[in-house]
Symmetry: C2
Subunit: 351 residues, 2 copies
């Protein structure tokens, strides 16, 4: 059928989530919306915003953003806040390895996902694996805010094929490319997951879906060219930008993903214990929740705590779901993400 | 066993190479060693090099470098030479799709490999898929000069699992990060491969090996941090650098790879029709050839024609091997690469 785009696998079985972690490493700081008001409008932001008829509660009420962790904040000295995505990935990776009980030699592959690497040509896979003292295969991968979904599918496939253990490390430092109102949405954070082969056939991906439409690739991202040029510097091109005319397309994808996952796994919404969406904002999480026919109490929403940590957000949320015991062995849960690229995808997982 | 690092799969069967291509797109230019002598030592380079006791033939005699295609050359106006890795990937991808006879909707995944993307946060997978008019899953991946090997293994796994067609697009524009003597080694270029599911069980990966050691990750690459800083820009930190104290480690890996591939596939060197190494330089290709116990006439060596096109080099060489009919259906051939990260790997493939 001509409308069946992307990858639509029925199942990638025999995979368990052996360990998970998150990182908001010491050295960054936690800020609230008021800090951003002050950054954008100065110390007298209350008066200034009132004069311009701007509602200080808009970003919380409309999108859910309030608190977030950042490694960089323009008001602070650069010396104080200079963590990179690799630092968050390393911290999360170390915690996950410790939790797993694995020896370092038991990990056969590191997949490093980030859209905000601190290095140009060098793979974050090698950088982070090296810092963790791992000698194993490693690569970096990137698919916008859906990178976590893409990495979970690829890692499941490779863990199944090799009957091995795959470490996914994810880190995002969007604060380094934030300016203006993007500061309200952007959060920094890291996460890690270890996927392992298990003889239990029931565990793992029941259905998955990966897709993209690159005709939107210039609509969202950092426009400045690499390697950096003086001209792009002078024109402030190394900050994140997005244009608004992609919202209806994005919304349509959020609606499609859960339906497709149910259909291909032959599982109904009533069997789903938890929905773990990319933590983009309350509005789109609600679009996804309704399409997935899940009650509000069965959704992980940490937008108010961490804001949108890019591709790291869904793996941070997955860790929270596990640590808060919101999923148990045998439970079905959904992961869904739509983001830059545009790339999107989802997984119906049995824990 | 504690010394068994990385991923060592026995086979990923039922995969054929449906199409391949390379790209040295119009808009770049071909230069020879003399052009680089002139760039580095001026118009009177013959006299200047003689005075400094420098042999103009050194890079050709020692490493094999002579001709290469570049999209950027400091002597030319930037307006004339401004192609990006994505441009080469797009051109190669278009040629491969045309050759494959596939309809665009038949491609389920694009894997884009490059260490020299022109964009910071955005995935080259989406950018190139979008330009090609493909609606499918897409991601970018990076593992230094071994990225091509990593992509072939990952693509084989996903093509096998989904019984689909995966397009790998590879592009490298090292000339944009070249300075000094690195100009002799660096070449630009693009390539593409389409891997497809086939009912023929004999076709595809007979054994593969992926590994890395990130303790060397700072020894080779572009040191300037991203997002770019003015300080690093002013200090010329966005050029490629490498330190020499990694050569013996690199050489040891070139020697290990072929032996491991033979052992895990239970195939001997006498059965190998062709060795396709990463086109790093004549000296290391010779190290690999000897370790693989292959006669010189069974090695693809294009170093003199294209120089070292980074991770794109092995996929360009694979295309040349196919187009020059140096492999036929049923033939066994080897792909081996060691590069930045450090990451390395190999594939024993049955065509």
């Amino acid at each position: 059928m001509s409308n069946k785009t992307g990858i639509r696998s029925k199942s990638i079985s025999n995979i368990k989530i052996l360990a998970s972690s998150k990182s908001f490493l010491e050295g960054g700081k936690w800020i609230v919306n008021e800090d951003i008001h002050e950054l954008l409008y100065g110390r007298t932001w209350k008066a200034k915003m009132k004069k311009r008829n701007l509602d200080p509660d808009y970003y919380e009420e409309e999108y859910g953003f309030n608190k977030r962790y950042v490694v960089h904040f323009p008001k602070d000295s650069k010396d104080k806040l200079q963590l990179t995505s690799a630092d968050l990935m390393e911290d999360a990776g170390r915690k996950a390895i410790l939790e797993s009980g694995l020896k370092k030699k038991d990990i056969s592959l590191v997949i490093a996902v980030s859209t905000t690497s601190h290095r140009y040509t060098t793979s974050l896979g090698a950088i982070v694996a090296g810092r963790l003292g791992l000698k194993c295969a490693s690569f970096e991968m990137k698919a916008g805010c859906s990178s976590g979904i893409y990495a979970l599918v690829t890692a499941s496939q490779l863990a199944q094929a090799t009957k091995g253990n795959v470490l996914i490390v994810s880190g995002e430092t969007l604060s380094r490319v934030a300016s203006g109102h993007f500061f309200y949405a952007a959060g920094d954070g890291g996460a890690a997951v270890i996927l392992s082969y298990t003889p239990n056939k029931n565990c793992g991906i029941q259905s998955c879906y990966l897709d993209s439409d690159g005709s939107y690739s210039e609509k969202m991202g950092v426009p400045g060219t690499l390697p950096p040029t003086r001209e792009a510097f002078e024109k402030n091109k190394y900050f994140f930008q997005s244009s608004g005319d992609i919202n209806s397309f994005i919304e349509s994808k959020w609606k499609e993903i859960p339906k497709l996952l149910y259909k291909n796994a032959n599982i109904s919404s009533s069997q789903i214990k938890l929905l773990i969406p990319h933590q983009v904002n309350n509005r789109l999480i609600e679009v996804c929740r309704k399409a997935a026919k899940i009650s509000p109490d069965k959704v992980i929403n940490k937008v108010g705590e961490y804001a949108n940590c890019g591709q790291a957000s869904i793996l941070i949320a997955l860790n929270d779901a596990i640590k808060e015991e919101r999923i148990s062995n045998g439970d079905y849960f959904l992961l869904c993400a739509v983001g830059g690229g545009l790339a999107w995808g989802g997984i119906l997982w049995r824990y």
